[in-house]
């Protein structure tokens, strides 16, 4: 490459040149920097930055990479962690992904991230590269990725643009994840007009590793070599690239820069296998994936987390587009690339593994102890910075925030529409609604079988994968968020999201252990949005502390808005739980005739923000009340039930309430039930409609074998948790029989439940 690079004869803006021309104008504003940020760069360097340095600072100090608006709030996740919560944490916040000890020497790492904006512009590739990016985070921890999940939010189901996004995004997630051989074990599909111009495409990946295999992103060991491998570097994702033309005073202009990134899942699959071989052979000291801010990020983070220095020759980078300028190479977000640090003794072994998998690589430079990140272009210094100032010392903003003035009005507007007279029709309407309908049309496009370890996936409460084939040790994960609850009360909304994911994991039978989150919000420059954000973080951090599950990592996505209108505050919370043996997982449907159906928890009149209210165009009032101590007890009961074989099915109550849960449990295996609501209505002083549609928290429905009923009741009594027998499984009758109200044949229910997505997108 060097010869070619030289023949291009860029007139490069070197450090020497920067010193000689202090007055030279640089396009800092076009690169998204503020004047004070630009001035700070000058102060740090003691001179004006070179074009390449400016490129690095501008991408690394961007909101996306530096968390400059959210940092002051996110600290709470660390501050509110107790020692007990740290017990299972091997690696906490701050690394590419957190690592959790699950016992027997095994660990898992998981993280959820957003790819919202790219997915709106180019749905297929945007979603695909979202999966690709999060999977690389997992690999860079030294783990084998074992599953993905995809919480998705779209605009109104019947808006003309929604079909384009649904088709592209679902196909993109499948196209990438399926080709990587990662089972898709769960996610969400939500339709709401607030996401019209701004769909939320979040992707979660989980990986598995042995404790001793943890790899961190640091470059230590002076003299160790730095290598870039995987795909070649192209002009992908270079935001204000054209403005960088000024860094080269050449007449040959760089060619057009692509507006979107195209993913190559095949290249990533090979990269996974090749990285795992590198880990197994212990030939890399430190490793870092290349995501946002590409080489800028990888070099500055590796260097500042290690011995502090690195020396790189940038012309060694293998290029897909030879017209890229140095600044562009540093900013490029080309996919499917990794950077590693290798001792000189291991260079040959490293190269052998690359060759076996036919992966391209280039040696860029070496680790130094100078405390400087020096990047040369054909021998001339174009970057000479303290890497910490790039990677860690970005600006931090205390953005002003205040409670929205409209919130009082909204909270005062409780849901008080007339109750439907025909409960049967109401259940059918609910189960056919865009948010409650079957998501099979989506999930059928994802491979849930590959790797052979999937014990639960859609439509169960949590995805469950086996980690150890000998012992059955495994994990469960669920992701949840309710933007409407958060809109009504962001503090409570965040706590409710955590509670639901936590409850889902426990419902499957796993012990909840750790949290990852993706906070999707509007513009932080809007004080009302900023308040929603601050409240969300406070709520989530408090709730994590109360439940004793630490946040191990996550992602913040801001500026999700079209025009002046922000999306609902949407904190997607992923909870990971552990199973000693996945064989005891609890499915979300009953099967055995005569088993007793019990409801755990109590039901209040809580319809504000509910799916039923949403279906009738109402959003106001207060979200359901949450009692985290009760959630903890409920979870303990559900896990115990699974451990002691006391239940054969369980499903937690959330959106859609009891109506949704009974429908889903019956449809899971196509087995009917007879249900009586009278006792429940009497005990909780509610009517049948409220019993069915309220979204009170802390509830679940379980199916208990006859032989276990005494033990089950004793346990609930001992823990002082309300439970009530509401019905019995009935294999004879393929219907949901709500005695005294209606009899709903499962065929009809299924048709309503399954028909919606195919009708819109088929």
């Amino acid at each position: 490459m060097t010869a070619e690079a030289m023949s291009r004869k860029f007139n490069i803006d070197t450090v020497a040149n920067a010193e000689a021309t202090p007055g030279q104008d640089l396009p800092w504003a076009a690169l998204g920097l503020t004047e004070s940020e630009y001035r700070r760069i000058g102060e740090i360097l003691g001179r004006r930055p070179t074009g390449a340095e400016l490129a690095m600072y501008s991408v690394m100090w961007s909101e996306h990479c530096s968390y400059k608006s959210s940092k002051v709030h996110l600290r709470q996740f660390g501050d509110k962690v107790t020692d007990a919560m740290k017990e299972h944490l091997l690696v906490g916040i701050g690394e590419n992904a957190g690592v959790v000890d699950i016992g027997d020497g095994w660990a898992v790492t998981f993280k959820v991230e957003s790819h919202n904006h790219p997915s709106f512009v180019e749905p297929y590739q945007g979603a695909a590269t979202g999966v690709g990016g999060i999977v690389r985070d997992i690999i860079s921890m030294g783990a084998r990725p074992v599953a993905v999940m995809d919480p998705l939010r779209f605009g109104a189901i019947d808006h003309p643009d929604t079909a384009r996004l649904v088709h592209g995004i679902v196909a993109g997630i499948g196209g990438y994840g399926n080709s990587l051989g990662l089972p898709n074990i769960g996610g969400e599909v939500v339709f709401d007009a607030v996401y019209q111009g701004n769909p939320l495409v979040n992707a979660l990946a989980v990986g598995v590793l042995r404790h001793e295999d943890i790899r961190l992103a640091n470059a230590s060991g002076t003299g160790n070599r730095v290598v870039l491998f995987g795909a070649r570097t192209g002009g992908d994702g270079i935001g204000g690239a054209s403005v960088l033309a000024s860094e080269s005073f050449d007449s040959s202009k760089p060619s057009k820069r692509p507006a979107v990134q195209v993913g190559d899942p095949f290249a990533e699959k090979v990269l996974i296998e090749c990285c795992l071989e590198l880990f197994k052979a212990s030939v890399v000291e430190g490793i870092q994936d290349l995501g946002a801010a590409g080489i800028s990020c990888a070099t500055s983070e590796l260097a500042s987390n290690g011995d502090g220095g690195m020396h790189v020759e940038l012309t060694n980078v293998l290029l897909r587009d030879p017209s890229l300028t140095p600044g562009e190479i540093l900013m490029s977000e080309s996919q499917e690339r990794m950077m590693a640090v290798v001792t000189p003794e291991n260079v040959t072994a490293f190269e052998a593994i690359m060759d076996r998998w036919a992966v391209e690589y280039s040696w860029l430079g070496e680790v130094t102890d100078t405390g400087r990140l020096i990047i040369e272009w054909d021998g001339e210094t174009i970057v000479d910075v303290d890497p910490r100032t790039v990677a860690h010392d970005g600006p931090v903003y205390e953005r002003p925030y205040h409670r929205p003035s409209w919130l009082d009005r909204v909270q005062a507007d409780a849901f008080d529409a007339e109750q439907p007279t025909d409960l049967r029709a109401a259940v059918l309407e609910l189960m056919a609604s865009p948010n409650m309908c079957s998501k099979d049309w989506v999930t059928d496009q994802f491979d849930r079988y590959v790797q052979g370890n999937t014990a639960l996936a859609m439509p169960d409460d949590a995805g469950v994968v086996r980690v150890d084939e000998e012992t059955g040790l495994g994990v469960a994960i669920s992701t949840d968020a309710n933007g409407r609850y958060s809109y009504l009360d962001p503090y409570e909304g965040a706590r409710l999201a955590l509670a639901e994911a936590y409850r889902n994991v426990a419902t499957s039978g796993a012990e909840p252990l750790a949290v990852s989150d993706c906070l999707n919000f509007g513009s932080p420059e809007d004080p009302e949005v900023m308040w929603q954000f601050a409240e969300t973080v406070r709520g989530l951090a408090d709730a994590c502390q109360e439940l004793g599950v630490p946040v191990t990592g996550g992602n913040v996505s801001l500026y999700n808005q079209t025009g002046g209108v922000a999306v609902h505050p949407t904190p997607v919370v992923g909870v990971l739980g552990v199973f000693d043996d996945v064989a005891r997982r609890t499915p979300s449907g009953w099967r055995e005739d005569g088993q007793a159906i019990y409801l755990l928890g109590t039901t209040k009149d809580e319809l504000d923000g509910s799916e039923w209210a949403n279906l009738h165009g109402h959003l106001g009032g207060r979200p359901p009340a949450l009692d985290l101590a009760a959630e903890k007890t409920l979870a303990a009961i559900l896990v115990n039930c699974s451990r002691d074989g006391m239940i054969d099915a369980a499903h937690d109550l959330s959106e859609g309430g009891l109506a949704a849960v009974l429908s889903e449990m019956a449809l899971r295996f196509g087995v009917g039930a007879r249900i009586g609501l009278d006792e429940l209505c009497e005990r909780d002083r509610i009517d049948a409609f409220t019993a069915l549609f309220s979204e009170s928290q802390g509830r679940a429905v379980v199916a208990v074998p006859r032989s276990e009923e005494v033990r089950y009741n004793d346990m609930c009594t001992a823990r002082n948790y309300p439970t009530l027998r509401i019905g019995v499984v009935d294999t004879e009758n393929e219907a949901l029989d709500l005695q005294g109200y209606f009899n709903l044949p499962l065929d009809q229910l299924r048709e309503a439940h399954q028909g919606t997505l195919p009708r819109h997108f088929g």
Binding site: V121, E122, Q125, A231, G234, G235, D236, S255, K256, R257, P258, A259, V260, Q261, V262, G263, D264, P265, F266, A267, R320, D321, S334, Q335, A358
Partner: protein
């Protein structure tokens, strides 16, 4: 029947994983004469009756809206072909 051909190729600056995979395979089967490969799409639209300027216009419209994704692809040709395949 007369046909209109529409050629769509990945934009030159966009990664073309398909072309890359082929370029990697060619030398393995002993074909070493090629520096790069790009894979695009070719559509043949059959027209009932004569090809009018109006129909050609329809084809051009289809080419940029339905047959290609302007974010990642270029329409490189919209043309009437009379000849049969060789």
């Amino acid at each position: 029947m007369p046909r209109i051909v529409v050629d769509v190729m990945p934009k030159p600056e966009i990664l073309d994983p398909q072309g890359k995979a082929i370029a990697g395979a060619l030398p393995r089967i002993g074909l070493t004469g090629f520096a790069a490969v790009r894979q695009g799409k070719r559509f043949e639209l059959t027209v009932d009756g004569e090809i009018t300027e109006q129909i050609l216009e329809q084809a051009r419209h289809a080419a940029t809206t339905l047959l290609s994704n302007p974010v990642i692809e270029d329409v490189t040709r919209v043309e009437v072909i009379e000849e049969d395949a060789p």
